[in-house]
């Protein structure tokens, strides 16, 4: 790399770049200048800028291909009315540690029982917090470094480990993948990067906290996790956003690479602002998450989704290597006017590959959700197996739940099973639980929690407690 940031800067000017380069916030709108501005702000290597520009130009060709097949409806998003980059006020003295974060924000986290507090960090979770677009704090870095584990913000990884990033970025989700993935590739701001060396078992949970702070700001994180042969990592991701009257756009990309014999467990607690009772405000959450599983490796996605006005998300596994395993455990809750179209894709390519999908959907208020899942067995995938179970729980009369499974089997040895159910909290159950002295609302939460147990038990213990809390907060008033 011979290009220095200065060169990029001058190039930008040559291109007619007129934005104040010292600004903390990019002007609204999207064009090549903005892409350059972001790349420049982050002092990225030239190849990164090139990649972004290719993605941007590709995205332009997709202009009329914003996905419309999902069972969600929303007003047209004006992509020129979004701010694509916002750094903390003064980049130099932006928060360096969690202690410096606005106490209001910390309070909001605490309310949700989110483990950003010191005592929880002591409990052994390494945390990386991404506020708006910049990663502000990564704890436990040194402990991890001793074992050769890299856990840092994506920007830092680009500076310190450019070869690793270059090798794996886009290898699972190419910038051409879909409308939102292309957009992300062009303008992604920050995110987390984790690398677990060969044979290393990561000794603690790695965690990233994402939060959209600034009004009108889109958040486009990119996360890349690479688990070398025989390694193991459990990664947690939490998301919140403050109450805003206007919709906010979130289009993230997550790529997981599990090399031979590696295992990645990826857990998400998503609580983006869902909008108010009438559907004003709330985050539009369009996310592409995918993992590539090599020989004898395993990738598990576990997610508890209670937030966002609209969720469009299908964490997937490409079972490329023989004997690889893919799992998807999900609880998705929609209340008020929330809409979710979510599910997974399991692409079986290797022999003896196995996948398990357990999806629990809870609909309340006027919420509407669709499970959309694809199980594809390629011709070479001898003895592939899939088990899918989709359960929906309806609370009230005005909500909806739909299940759309796509099954494509191109190998006769495959075994694919699909089970689905839709239920309500039965009067008998409620009477039974209340007869033991438990008040109506608590009884309903208990039954709802029971419905989610198969998923919650997949979460690390602390996260499971938070998930329960989150569910309760999200359902307040809906089960009265």
């Amino acid at each position: 790399m011979t290009t220095t940031p200065k060169d990029i800067l001058s190039k930008e000017y040559k291109w007619g770049f007129s934005t104040d380069v010292e600004a903390d916030v990019a002007p609204k709108g999207l064009n090549e200048e903005i892409v350059r501005f972001i790349s420049h702000k982050k002092q990225e290597p030239e190849w990164m800028l090139e990649w972004r520009l290719k993605a941007y130009r590709h995205w332009l060709t997709l202009k009329n291909e914003e996905p419309t097949w999902a069972n969600v409806s929303y007003y047209h998003i004006d992509y020129q009315d979004v701010v694509y980059y916002a750094a903390p006020r003064k980049p130099g003295d932006g928060p360096k540690s969690l202690e410096e974060i606005n106490p209001e924000v910390m309070e909001a986290f605490n309310k949700l029982g989110i483990p950003l507090g010191e005592q929880k960090r002591l409990a052994g979770i390494a945390v990386d917090a991404v506020f708006d677009s910049v990663s502000v704090a990564t704890t436990y870095k040194e402990t991890l470094e001793k074992q050769g584990i890299i856990f840092c913000s994506f920007s830092e990884a680009l500076q310190k480990h450019p070869d690793l990033v270059k090798k794996y970025m886009g290898s699972v989700v190419p910038y051409t993948d879909n409308f939102f993935a292309s957009l992300n590739a062009a303008v992604f701001s920050d995110g987390s990067f984790a690398y677990i060396p060969k044979g290393v078992r990561c000794p603690m949970e790695l965690m990233t906290y994402f939060r959209i702070n600034q009004a009108d700001t889109g958040q486009f994180e990119r996360t890349l996790i690479v688990a070398e042969e025989g390694s193991y990592v459990s990664y947690l991701e939490g998301c919140t956003a403050p109450t805003r009257k206007k919709h906010q756009l979130h289009a993230a990309v997550v790529e997981l690479v599990a090399l031979d014999g590696a295992e990645i467990k990826y857990s998400t607690l998503q609580n983006w602002y869902p909008g108010d009772v009438d559907g004003n405000g709330g985050v539009y959450n369009f996310v592409t998450k995918r993992g590539k599983a090599m020989k004898n490796s395993k990738i598990s996605w576990t997610q508890v989704e209670t937030g966002s006005a609209i969720t469009w998300k299908y964490p997937s596994v490409i079972l490329q290597g023989d004997n690889s395993i893919g799992e998807f455990y999900s609880v998705a809750l929609v209340n008020n006017r929330q809409q979710a179209d979510t599910g997974t894709k399991m692409i079986h390519m290797g022999k003896n590959t196995r996948s398990t999908i357990i999806s629990k959907g809870i609909s309340a208020g006027r919420g509407n959700q669709t499970y959309r899942g694809l199980v594809r067995v390629m011709p070479g995938a001898e003895n592939a197996r899939n088990y899918t179970q989709c359960d929906s729980l309806l609370i009230g009369e005005k909500c909806g739940a739909h299940t759309v499974p796509y099954i494509e089997v191109r190998n006769p040895t495959a075994q694919v099973e699909h089970e689905a159910s839709t239920s309500k909290i039965s009067d008998d159950q409620l009477f039974y639980v209340m007869q033991r002295g438990i008040a109506a609302e608590d009884a309903k939460f208990m039954i709802i929690n029971g419905f989610c147990r198969e998923i919650f038990k997949e979460l690390p213990l602390e996260f499971a407690v938070e998930a329960t809390q989150l569910l309760k907060v999200s359902l307040e008033g809906a089960v009265g």
């Binding site: 009477f431 209340m434 007869q435 033991r436 002295g437 208990m446």
Partner: protein, 258 residues
């Protein structure tokens, strides 16, 4: 007759479900320390009666009174009745998937204790308490760690009801056919459990079809319920008479107003 306030006093209770009258004037007084057995043919309204006392909203009380320790039970919500000390052992215990029995019972006990102004029971103390009580009905740890009644056999479900009674220590227990579907050993376990829980300050209303259970749990009174009315009440011997003669002889009594 004692002059203390009865635990349960039912006066001329009428109730309907889906517009159909099921209970047609039931009166019953149950005092502390007593066990009352209610017997009657299928569909006569035995379960309905127990569910109404416990507050199941599926049934509508059209007239009459139900007093518990002198308080009007009919105005209380289901959980408040339970917190006051009313327990129903279900004929068909309900499954609560994903909710572990131990967790379920601790939540219930703590809700009741909080209502009574007592401190919540600590996890450790509860675990010990639960262990002792489960020994009473010979329920093992593995079952307690499973979801409430999920995949339990009929007999296991019935034993789980008695375990819950033992944990929650109610003042009034309604047991709806605790013996149905039990093998001979389970029957003894259940009966023995109930007998041990029988105290001078609590009362039990026992619904059963078989006098066999009453060999183990000796009732103070036996009532015959036919077509929504108690057509005859008596002592222990009434159950033996029923067993010998069946309900035929009693059915003609239904025509007479209660």
């Amino acid at each position: 007759m004692s002059n203390t306030i009865p635990i349960l006093e039912v006066r001329d209770l009428h109730a309907t479900v889906a517009g159909k009258e099921i209970l047609k004037g039931i009166s019953l007084t149950v005092r502390a320390g007593e066990v009352h057995a209610i017997m009657g043919p299928n569909g006569s309204g035995k379960s309905t009666f127990t569910h109404i006392v416990a507050g199941n909203p599926a049934f509508t009380v059209t007239s009459g009174q139900v007093l518990y320790k002198g308080k009007d039970l009919l105005t209380m919500s289901v959980d408040v009745r339970a917190k006051e000390g009313v327990f129903l052992g279900f004929q068909y215990p309900v499954e609560v998937p994903g909710v572990r029995t131990a967790q379920f019972l601790r939540t219930a006990l703590n809700a009741i204790r909080t209502y009574r102004g007592q401190p919540e029971i600590e996890f450790k103390a509860f675990t010990q308490f639960l262990k002792e009580k489960s020994a009473l009905v010979e329920m093992n740890q593995a079952m307690i760690n499973r979801s409430v009644n999920e995949g339990f056999s009929g007999g296991e479900k019935k034993r789980n009801e008695i375990l819950q009674m033992a944990i929650l220590e109610p003042a009034l227990t309604l047991l709806d056919e605790p013996d149905s579907g039990l093998d001979i050993d389970s029957l003894k376990i259940v009966a023995n459990g109930v007998t041990q829980l029988r105290k001078p300050d609590n009362a039990i209303v026992l619904v059963t079809h078989y006098q066999r259970l009453l060999n183990y749990i000796t009732p103070d009174f036996v009532h015959v319920l036919i077509d929504g009315r108690i057509v005859k009440s008596g002592r222990r011997e009434l159950a033996l008479e029923l067993e010998a003669k069946g309900y035929e002889g009693f059915k003609k009594l239904t025509a007479a107003p209660a």
